[in-house]
């Protein structure tokens, strides 16, 4: 089966949205983090792509562009033993609590 990222020629229900959008702060931070991880030799572009491609179809389809970047960063950091999933989840929960984010 064709993986979800390999989508050249796939039919779509509606025209592709080509509008630009204002970057959210977290998207800028994600972009910066990819640069840092590249400079430090922790994640190259091929590892980054592979992490995105291994998200699984449902998660891939529902994620936005930079959410996919964020997911592959997490995959790579855990894989390289820079952080554990538990550490990431704990920190995420702390931030959610601090900002009252309940979604």
């Amino acid at each position: 089966m064709t993986a979800p990222h390999d989508r050249g020629g796939w039919p779509v229900d509606e025209p592709i949205d080509r509008d630009e959008h204002e970057w959210a702060d977290w998207e800028r931070m994600t972009q910066s983090l990819v640069g840092v991880l590249g400079a430090k030799g922790i994640m190259n572009v091929d590892q980054m792509r592979r992490g995105i491609e291994s998200m699984g179809q449902a998660e891939y389809e529902s994620a936005t562009y930079f959410e996919r970047w964020s997911a592959t960063i997490e995959t790579r950091l855990v894989e390289d033993s820079v952080l554990t999933t538990e550490e990431i989840d704990k920190r995420t929960q702390e931030l959610r609590d601090r900002w009252g984010y309940t979604e």
């Binding site: 050249g8 020629g9 190259n44 091929d46 592979r50 491609e53």
Partner: protein, 108 residues
């Protein structure tokens, strides 16, 4: 890139080639819509680190020859109606293409 000149090359500009019809589970950049399709080598464009092994934390060595390969758009897409002269150029690692032994050169 350095090292390209002494690398043995299996293909030359003008060669008729067929893209391998494989879907390995590892990372690869060859899109599905050109697999098993026939095209022509436009040029050798250099030797590059192998992204398929680098994606899985290998060093990407040995370097792999890369070729720019041309396809007729009408061969890739059913009912392609824009212009029969339209081409797709796509850069492919050497291990993704094989000499096309069929006469005619392009198509499926």
């Amino acid at each position: 890139m350095s090292g390209a000149s002494q690398l043995a090359r299996a293909f030359s500009a003008g060669d008729s080639v067929r893209v391998r019809d494989e879907t390995p589970s590892h990372h690869h950049r060859t899109p599905h819509y050109i697999k098993a399709r026939r095209g022509r080598v436009v040029d050798f464009i250099g030797a590059y680190l192998n992204s398929e092994t680098r994606a899985h934390s290998g060093d990407g060595l040995p370097m792999v020859p890369m070729y720019r390969v041309e396809f007729d758009m009408a061969d890739l897409w059913d009912e392609y109606a824009t212009s029969s002269a339209d081409k797709l150029w796509i850069d492919l690692y050497e291990h993704w293409i094989e000499h096309d032994t069929r006469s005619g050169g392009t198509g499926r």
